[in-house]
Amino acid sequence: MKVVITGIGAVSGFGWGVEKLWRGLESGATSIREPSVFDVEGQRTTLVAEVGPPGPDAQAEIDDLRNLSRADVFAVIAAREALVRAGVDAGGPRTGVFCGGSTAGMAECEDFVGRIVGVHPGKPTLRLLASQQLNGPGDAVARDIGACGPVIGFSSACASGAMALGAALEAVRSGDVDMALAGGADSLCRLTYSGFNALRSVDPGVCRPFRRERQGLSLGEGAGMLVLEPLDRAVARGAEPLAELAGYGASCDAYHMTAPHPKGDGALAAMKAALRDAGLESLDVGAVNAHGTGTPHNDQSESCALRRLLGERALEVPLTAPKGALGHVLGAAGALEAVASVLALECGTIFPTAGSTPADPDFGIDLVLDEGREMFRGKQTWISTNFAFGGANAALVIRGLV
């Protein structure tokens, strides 16, 4: 059974909605900048891909959601956008929600604890914790759309969003649900920002995926949501599928808690598994949406894995690394980046990686820069990679439809 994506929604450093996301990505710009709201006082680095305020119409919609955490709001708004695009009223027992995240209501929880230890003003009210739980955003979406099927949160750090998509794919294929809202959402919080800085993993400037001068990642926030359905059901109700979610693969390095396997063993295994799941081979890969965090370790091991996967074709398969534009949105990354892949397929363009310096030539990859690259409409196959802390790897295969 083919499973298709009929709707997409996004919130990112470029703004609210997929249109802003695409305009930002295709222009080669970056949304990583000095924050206006997020507190970086006392931190080693200061840049983030912060989600700015929405336009006035959207603001009213968001004000209505005032009891939700920031991450919840991102998820709900993105889900609503995806459903509008899909042209469907989801909900009921045959709809499931699969949502990745690593922070959920942590930002609000930090405020609560700050008040408890007397460092923040105000009383520690329980309302600050009402959406603290990791499954907060997924539950918020499920409540918003009236989903009665399985609702599951995934929290595997940087691979959460991809895992949620993989689980949704499986749920649709197996007939557990007829429709799935799948994605991820994360908001900036001091715990994560300080933590990555404690590991000295953050680039003091804008991250530079796959460049020789790279020094680390840049953090971001946002959400990506996708509507998944069986192709025949989508067609039967007159929907226009945007792309096919063709495969999912996962693995674990079992190597080290923070460093990836140096030759990319686990990454390679996940990509191969995803292709196998899609009934495809490495020859079918037309473009790569890389994990590309910009850390010395990741980009090194990821490019090694890609060279092993693509063999002689490595330099012919265009690769784009959206974290240069969107920052690393952690639990939302796999989903937001999947939305980017769908947009690329829709528009027929492989969007460029932000920044103008070329890739480290030793990596042997074809890093797309500047204006992006035209992609033949039709069956183009993207492989989207996501490698998490602790060595959990996930890969997605997303294909254009003829």
Binding site: L199, T258, A259
Partner: protein, 87 residues
């Protein structure tokens, strides 16, 4: 004890505490034994952990990966490094 010996003692206790080396005592750590790779077998995360612990304990700021690798090679190297910073 000399000044250097005192610092080395303090460092050994710090290493054991901040890296959670349960069951280890300062006597078990030799002054010149390599801390990373072979020897004590510490890794990059331990190195970062030590940086934080040392910065707190000695009120210093440690920058640069190069510095860290040399300075942390052994307890003696660490003691010399700290001494150097305090001058």
């Amino acid at each position: 004890m000399t000044q250097q010996e005192l610092i080395r003692e303090r460092l050994k206790k710090l290493i054991i505490e901040s890296l959670n080396l349960e069951g280890m005592t300062p006597e078990m750590i030799e002054n010149d034994a390599p801390l990373f790779g072979d020897g004590l077998g510490l890794d990059s995360v331990d190195a970062l952990e030590l940086v934080v612990a040392l910065e707190k304990e000695f009120s210093i700021r440690i920058e640069g990966e190069e510095t860290t690798r040399e300075a942390f090679a052994s307890v003696s190297a660490m003691a010399a490094f700290i001494d150097g910073l305090n001058e």
